[in-house]
Structure formats: structure tokens, C-alpha cells
Symmetry: C2
Subunit: 324 residues, 2 copies
Amino acid sequence: MNRRELLYSGLAAGGLAASGGAAWSEAGPDADGLSPVQSAVTYMPVPAQKQVVANAEALGSKPYAGFFNPELTVSTRTAREIQAGPLAAEETTAPSIEGLASLLTMDHATLRNGYGLLENGTSYVQSRHLMPGVTTEMFRWWFTWHPVESERYMLWFPHAHIENSVEDPDRLADTSLSYEERLYDNPNHVKELIGPEMSDFIIHFKDPAELGFDPAAMRAAGFTASASGLISPTAAYGVITSLMVHIARDTAQGMELISRYWIGAHPELKRFKGAAMAGIALKLAGFDEEAAENAAHELAVHDMIEFEHLARLLPGLYARFADG
Amino acid sequence: MNRRELLYSGLAAGGLAASGGAAWSEAGPDADGLSPVQSAVTYMPVPAQKQVVANAEALGSKPYAGFFNPELTVSTRTAREIQAGPLAAEETTAPSIEGLASLLTMDHATLRNGYGLLENGTSYVQSRHLMPGVTTEMFRWWFTWHPVESERYMLWFPHAHIENSVEDPDRLADTSLSYEERLYDNPNHVKELIGPEMSDFIIHFKDPAELGFDPAAMRAAGFTASASGLISPTAAYGVITSLMVHIARDTAQGMELISRYWIGAHPELKRFKGAAMAGIALKLAGFDEEAAENAAHELAVHDMIEFEHLARLLPGLYARFADG
Ligand SMILES: [Zn+2]
Ligand SMILES: [Zn+2]
């Protein structure tokens, strides 16, 4: 158990007391286990505080406006996991074929949600979200429903989501096609605040087999939905700067979502066409190691907020709008 | 009631529903008033995540190490007030003689904790903290006890506080003198993270009469303790860039602390020797309007965390260490 685990495990009292201090419980009520299980989000960057006002205005007349809820909450445990400092190398997953394969079999419940730096200053984020009441069916529906209007995307993260569209909206809306036929290789333009920074990028959602997953192994592990892909800056469409993995399966406790983000010039990303330029493109944008670590942290916080919020919204939204 | 108030008052449902939306309660459990009263701090900047590990190490062998608790919580209400965007001009207080006088008589319970920009791009923060179980006697004791060792200062904000000392420690420690004689005009060197930024400055604690308060009016309003003063960057000792007000009184619900921070070239600060250079000094440091607004926001978050945390620590610390 390292120092960071001591700090945040509630065992710090013992550790500190053993080295001469008094009992932790002197420190106040939350040291006695009275910390809330669920916490309101206690920090929102200034640009996001302003964006939510504009977004509330935009939502005004939509039939789903009642689902626009800026009173965000997250699980205390996840929030504290992300605050426990960058992940150590052995806690992380590489974006290699083997790394992707390991996602299908590892015990995600024992890993903390977090962020860190990998090879070549690559920004890294990992998360697991267990979503009671949510199914992979709802998850697939969400990815074909929300890019139809930017306002739907705003529901997902009211302070941070700004624009969302796909290159071929007719294909996205064609219910005679499968989820995969509608979403994959239908470039998705996204504009959102990640922390205080505006991000403008294209997600190329892909068949997970194209990213390096083994379809038979995915099926065997129960992963029946994927919203994974390669990401380009909108300003440099042909350059792949990031691999994003969202794979989901139904469990007795609800939908389990496993996510990974790798942003940068990781050697294992070079197998994707366009990724060789990532290092130069990010360096030109001033993305040094400190910036990469901060960006990974902000993305971890963003992922926590948006997926915990989506988990709360999705059953109600699906019940109300999925037939349309 | 403006749009921001609508957003965060729980009345947004009505507002949005009236413009065609469904009821807010569709949006999930926290819309039904299930938000926690107290929330874990859900965001900590990367440098502060690293600092807390070093601070925990430093505290190891101190007799008060049991009071070092990094599991910070804040009131959900205050956290959401600060997220509701910059304060409007009419919600703020000027650093004038009249402004200071108004602090003694205004109804602080009706004001939100928050931040904003005033004249000449001045960063502004206002807060009120009601501290059950805390007294002004404890508050005065804290300001003479903690600057003796940096590790005591770390208790106050385990992730962000780094160094604290006064120019004349013997005078600070001399219990034959009054609180005011020990602290005032005994320059206090402080190093701390405010948001992700390292701040290194000198607080010149002053008799509030020197800052423009009327002592008789303070007494009449029950304000019996002050830790207010003028602030210089350590690198520019003679330049006053900020006025900070912390005035406190005992109430039936506990100690009430009223705070204000003005950082910048506000015309009303020019009455203080050294303040005429503030505008130039801050401009040289790259402190434009966007930076000033962000700094005010970070300081508001910092103030919330440290004073809510101090309120939890102080009764126990005082009971254990005040006789020494
Ligand atoms: Zn997002
Ligand atoms: Zn502080």
C-alpha cells in the first residue's frame, strides 16, 4: 500500500498515529465515515459556468428540456480516486492489441478510476462505471439519438457540451439499419469544454475489430456494445491523435461501462493510419508533459461527471423517447 | 430572479416546464431534493494532488498529525453558489470606507458566496461561513498558533498549504501580549497553491481601523476578531496588490466569519501606501481580465474549502493545544 492509498483509504489515521500522531478521528466528523456516498460536483471551471447558461436557453423549447439538470452529482469514491494522483505505470493499460484484450478479462472492480502519463507523454484515462437500471440497448439507442441535435448532447453534460453532429444524419437516423451500420464510420463532430479548455474534434467510431479487439473474445466476455473510435482534431482531420474505448456489457447490477482514452504519440497507436503525425501535431499545440498530465486529469473528471450523469438520465430518456 | 438563479435554485424545472419542457423531476434522483447537504470535494488540481503527499510526509511526527485530514468536504449549497457564475456588480462590495462600513450592517445570510470582476479588472471574492462550535477566542488563538510551524498551516488545507511564518516569531509567541500586539504588523510570509497556481506573498495583518473600519461600529455589530490586512507579492515587498478582510463575531449558531478579497488596481485601494503600483505589477505578471476572473474563482473555491475545513478542525485543536 503506497502513500497515496494510505491518504485516501481511511487508513491514514492508523498510519499517522503509528508515527506519533493522535487518532484521525480527532480531525472531524467526516473522518468518522460520515462522508456522503454521493457528492454534488464542487468545482466547475469559469467557462463551463457561463456555457450552462447559454445551454439552458437553447434547451428551452425542446420536448426533452425537463431532462436538462445542471445539479450534477458524482460518487464520492470515484471523485477521491481521481484525486489520488497520477496512476502508476503498473495500474495502466497499453493501447496495444494485448492491452485491448486484457480489458475483456481484467477485474475492473479492483482498479481505480484515474489518469496518468504513458510513453512519449501520452495522456491516459481509465474508468469503470456501473449503471443500475441501464442496459446496453439504452446505450446503443443513446449514441444514435443524441447526435441528431446539439441540444440532446447538452443533456449529457449541461455545462460542457456544446455541439454534436454526424456527417451523414440520414444514415444515423435510419432505423432499418443496425446500430453499428448507423454510427460506425459516420464521422461525429464534437465541440465541448474539457475542464476550462474548448475541444473541437472528430470521433471516427469504428467496429472494435478494426481497433484491435477480438470479436469472439468480446462476445465471450459479454461485451455487446461499443462506442469506441479514433479521434482527430477538427482542424487536422487526417491526423489521429487519440484512441477512445467505451465497451459495455449487461450485468445483474446494471450496465458496466469500461473506458480508456489514450491521447498522444504512444508507439502502439502508430498502427492506425494518420497517427504517425500525432506527436508533431500535439507539440505544435503546446502539449508538453505538464499539459498532457493536466489534460488527462481534466478528461478523467469530465468522464466521471458525464457518465455518472448519463446513468441517471438514460432510463427516463429511453422510456420517453426511444420509440420515436 | 435571473437565469443563473433559476438554474441553481431548484426552480429551473418550473422555468423550463413553462417554456414547453417536461417536469424537472424526470431528470433523476438529485432533482427530487436528494442532493447531499455536505459533499466531498470532487476536484483537486494536479499540483495539489502531489503536494498533499509531501505534506502528509512532513506531518508524520508532529503531535497534531492526527488532525491532518485530506478527506475534505464542503457544503453543497456553497459549492453551487460559487458555480453560479460571476457575481453581478450589485451583489458586490467596494473596498471603500463605505463598503467596509456596510459589511458591519448588511444581511450576509441573504448573499451568495462568490467571485467576480470589479473596476479596473479587480479580482473579487466574498464569503460568509457560519461555524458551529467555533468561537472568536479559538479564531484568535489559531492565528497566533499556526504560523509557528508550516506543518500546522498544512492542517488547514492539506493539499494546498506549504509554508507559513512571521517576521518576528518571538512576538507572535509572547502570550503576555494581546492577539493584536502579536499578529498585527508582524509580516506573515505565506506560500500556498490557489487552484493550480503557486502563490507566494506577504500578509501585513493590520488593526482594522488602519484599513478603514470604524472601531466603535465594529464593536456595536459584535465583530470582536479580525485577521484582515494588506498583501504584497513576496517578490515585490513594497507593492500592495490586495486587501483581505476576515472579521468574526460570536453568534448563537457559532462563529460567523465575513470575508472579502480585492486583488488589483481598484481605485479605492489607492489610499494604501504601495497600492499605486498594483496595476503595473499585476499587468507585468500577465494578470489580464480573464486571468483575474479565473483567479477570483479559484480563490473563492480555496476560501470555501479552507474555512469549512478549519471550522471542523478548530474546536478539537483548541481543546487539545490551546493551553500550550
Ligand atoms: Zn463530454
Ligand atoms: Zn489558504
